[in-house]
């Protein structure tokens, strides 16, 4: 009974993916042929070639990795530090600061978006990757409050005896942090790296606004942003006659497929880390 239900829901879950994959391999004739429902008559790869060309796949892919990886590194480092500070030390105003942390999480980024845009513009970093790196360096990267809370939870579980023992043996605050806290936090670090990377990778709204710099239109882009503007970029290419077909759903599905392909591969390789991440990071260890 449970299996039947799980398999049903699992199918519903996978339905969009299956639909996407099956459609992306269809040629135009297959699309128009009503007898072809799921399995195309022959494997038609031209869609992928076309989509990849008009998304400028390789460059967007590499830039996307940079856009996701560099802020992630900053995010992990700083969030770990801040989480440790909250968990290990007692100081005045800590409760207020924790409240502030939750507040920054709840606040939609749209409220601060406009002045921040102006700020970046004045700093002259609009349209560069620094618009993601600098906030991350100051602990305000994408979803940073969640990561800080993850580290906070994790470091609270480290027995205080351990750090006290280190202090007695003459380790300073930093040595304790780097030698004891950081190595023991590997599971939390893995979680944060994975989630931060995925979230940055999938962020198109802010990427388009800051890193690409909407009005500045720099060259920075990632696959998701390319996918967002896919229709127009494909049509300009098609109007020059650069593509094999005109815009149709198989091409669009092929574009969607290749934009999620890198993460999909990463997911299949690191599946265990992903699926067990929340468990191990002890988010729920209240």
């Amino acid at each position: 009974m449970v299996y039947a239900l799980l398999i049903c829901i699992g199918f519903v879950y996978l339905y969009p993916m299956l639909y996407m994959i099956s459609t992306s391999f269809m040629s135009r004739d297959d699309l128009l042929d009503t007898s072809v429902k799921w399995i195309p008559n022959h494997l038609y790869l031209q869609n992928y070639v076309d989509a990849a060309k008009s998304m400028d796949f390789l460059m967007s892919f590499l830039k996307g990795i940079l856009i996701a990886a560099l802020p992630t590194l900053c995010n992990v480092g700083i969030c770990m530090m801040v989480g440790y500070g909250f968990a290990r030390y007692d100081f005045k105003g800590k409760k207020i600061m924790m409240g502030l942390l939750i507040f920054t999480y709840i606040l939609p980024s749209q409220v601060t978006m406009i002045p921040t845009y102006v700020l970046y513009n004045n700093m002259g970093i609009l349209g560069t990757i620094f618009t993601f790196i600098i906030p991350a360096l100051f602990g305000n990267g994408l979803n940073a409050p969640i990561f800080i809370l993850i580290f906070y939870q994790f470091f609270r579980q480290i027995p205080k005896v351990l750090t006290e023992a280190a202090a007695i043996d003459g380790a300073g605050h930093f040595k304790t942090f780097f030698r004891i806290a950081v190595p023991s936090a590997i599971p939390a670090i893995v979680t944060v790296v994975l989630f931060s990377f995925v979230w940055y990778w999938n962020e198109s709204y802010l990427t388009e606004l800051y890193v690409q710099g909407l009005s500045a239109k720099s060259n920075w882009t990632n696959l998701v942003v390319q996918l967002k503007n896919f229709d127009s970029s494909f049509q300009t290419r098609a109007s020059v006659g650069d593509t094999a077909t005109s815009l149709n759903e198989s091409v669009r599905m092929a574009a969607t497929a290749i934009s999620i392909l890198p993460l999909l591969i990463m997911y299949l390789i690191l599946q265990k880390q992903f699926v067990e991440s929340i468990d191990r990071a002890g988010i729920t260890g209240e």
Partner: protein, 345 residues
Amino acid sequence: MAEKTKRKTKRSLEAREARMGYFFVLPWLIGVLLFVLIPLGQSFYYMWFNIRITPLGTKFNPVGTGNFTQIWLENPEFPQQLVTYIWQTIVEVPVIVVFALIIAMMLNGKIKAKGFFRLIFFLPVIIVSGPVMNMLVSEGASTIPVMNTQVVINALDTFLPYSMAQSIGDLFGNMIMILWYSGVQILIFLSALQKVDPSLYEAAKMDGGSGWECFWKITLPTIKNFILLNAVYTVIFMSGNEQNALIEMIKNAMFSGTKEKGYGYASAMAWMYAVVVTLIVLLFFLLLGSKKDVYDRIAAKRKRALRKEERLQKKVRRRNQRNVRKIEKARQSHRYKTYDGKSDY
């Protein structure tokens, strides 16, 4: 003397610890100031102005509440979308949370291929992003073709306000997408469920409790906080999600070339939006917030009584000391006379 120095070193140690705490938190604090609080104030300031960017610089033209009247009276789209958003969130969040809980409970049971199912249910977290979702929705991959939502909407429309009927109808239409939003929530529930003490279930079973009762009396109270956590997470996720037409509208208004729109107009929109999101979060807090259970309340009451007792005792002690001092003083100033005149007790 020794006592005193000891206390002093302890205090300075505490001060040093506190300083280190500030040091560790400092980068984040600066960041919050720079990237959240100051921009927040600025956008609050912006929303009373009509801001034009000219080659000579940015021109601020105070319009009072002009931006708001513009939004509410002359641009019907924003209020309409706002109402849709509110209904959508209020309808969809409980569905997502309940669904996540059901899946988590099924996965938590003794089943084979648990890892495989987890793999499937977590997959959407990796690939959900605005453009991907838009693509899939626009190609109709998100609906199961058999479902006819219009019938549902029409049926509901007879006894519900239209926007609510619409959002419930959308719920059926976008079922898959809604299920796709529940990946992280499933994981959170799963690990919460695993922390429920199994001996509780055993004890309940001994006493003849059914599975249904166990769920309501053991599982639900234990994971109550995680339901709140998941609800809030879902609200926030949906508020920043690109499927949300409102945030796209704010962005468009920001770069709109028309005379009345621009930064000020967009700020006003963003502020209203933020207030609405916060209110929805508060609503869920009120609905699901921790009404502590009986034991907690009793314990808290005991603690309060104890503290009161302590305070009373302290008061009595202080008064005692004061009285002793008073008597001593009076005695020294010979105000007390004994009957034999020696002024000594």
